[in-house]
């Protein structure tokens, strides 16, 4: 299916969100979770990073529109 004009930025946004979701899944699931779990601070820092990345992705795209 051919993308409608103006939908490419939406497509890119969806792809970036999917990538962030995949990254989050990788980081917060086994086996990587075992690496952080011995250090409680690391999990909180990574959690904060995922939220910050999400906020940045959403807000940045909005300004471009």
């Amino acid at each position: 299916m051919k993308a409608a004009p103006g939908s490419s930025s939406v497509g890119v946004k969806v792809q970036r969100l999917l990538a962030l979701f995949a990254l989050g899944w990788l980081v917060f699931d086994f086996p990587l979770l075992i690496l952080w779990s011995s250090n409680a601070v690391a999990v909180f820092v990574l959690w904060g990073l995922v939220i910050a990345l999400l906020a940045w992705l959403m807000e940045r795209e909005e300004r471009e529109d």
């Binding site: 969100l17 989050g24 899944w25 917060f28 779990s37 409680a40 959690w47 995922v50 999400l54």
Partner: protein, 229 residues
């Protein structure tokens, strides 16, 4: 605390929530919606933290250390896809005037009645123990606050029964009077957002108390976190 005080405060809190809901509904009627705000909407999402969350997640934190975190990491990850998934679900629900998860899933598969029935059944079977947990959480909270023992030996002396009856009454009176997919429950969303602020403050208060009251700061707390296996 005396039972009278706990019950009076609970009712005052419920009344305050209804006042907020009524105010938001009035604002919506005059076209000045309060829930069109991203902060209010985000706070209303805190509804997923149920009464049981306070027992479940704090209990897990106390006994298994970091393993309480997935309760929050999962929804955080799910919200990463909210912009993609939730918007689509809302669009479909609006277009087909869908009001329940059973209708939603069935509509995706050719409006199959059998599937809708099956989803309803699964949702019912899944939700009953969960609702029971919520009621148990409220009853346990009440018992902790009043210092009362575990209900009584007979079923009618268990406070859980009266809490269930009370909540059922409120739900019938205020929750499910209308069934209209085009209607936005502005008052309900606003009340839930206010509730989320209360929950957030409560969680922070517990966190501050545990970190600096029971332990000696975050460093001490983190060194004593049991290492998950």
């Amino acid at each position: 605390l005396t039972p009278t005080l706990v019950i009076a405060v609970s009712f005052a809190y419920l009344i305050a929530l209804f006042v907020v809901a009524a105010w938001a509904d009035r604002r919506a009627a005059t076209g000045r919606s309060v829930i069109g705000n991203a902060w209010v909407y985000a706070l209303s999402m805190g509804v997923y933290c149920t009464a049981w969350t306070y027992f479940g997640s704090i209990g897990r934190a106390a006994t298994t250390g970091l393993w309480f975190l997935p309760i929050y990491l999962g929804p955080t990850l799910a919200m990463v896809l909210a912009w993609v998934l939730l918007r689509k679900m809302i669009r479909i629900a609006r277009a087909y005037r869908i009001t329940s998860i059973a209708d939603f899933i069935a509509s995706r598969y050719g409006k199959s009645r059998l599937l809708a029935g099956l989803v309803t059944l699964i949702a019912l079977v899944g939700v009953v123990p969960y609702v029971a947990l919520q009621l148990k959480a409220i009853a346990s909270g009440y018992e902790v606050l009043t210092g009362a023992g575990h209900g009584g030996s007979t079923w009618w002396s268990d406070s859980t029964l009266y809490i269930a009856l009370l909540l059922a009454g409120f739900t019938i009176a205020f929750g499910t009077r209308h069934l209209d997919s085009t209607e936005r429950h502005e008052g309900m969303v606003a009340a839930i957002a206010v509730e989320s602020i209360v929950k957030l403050v409560a969680f922070l208060a517990v966190g501050i108390f545990v970190t600096w009251g029971i332990f000696e700061g975050p460093g001490d707390l983190f060194t004593r976190v049991p290492c998950p296996r």
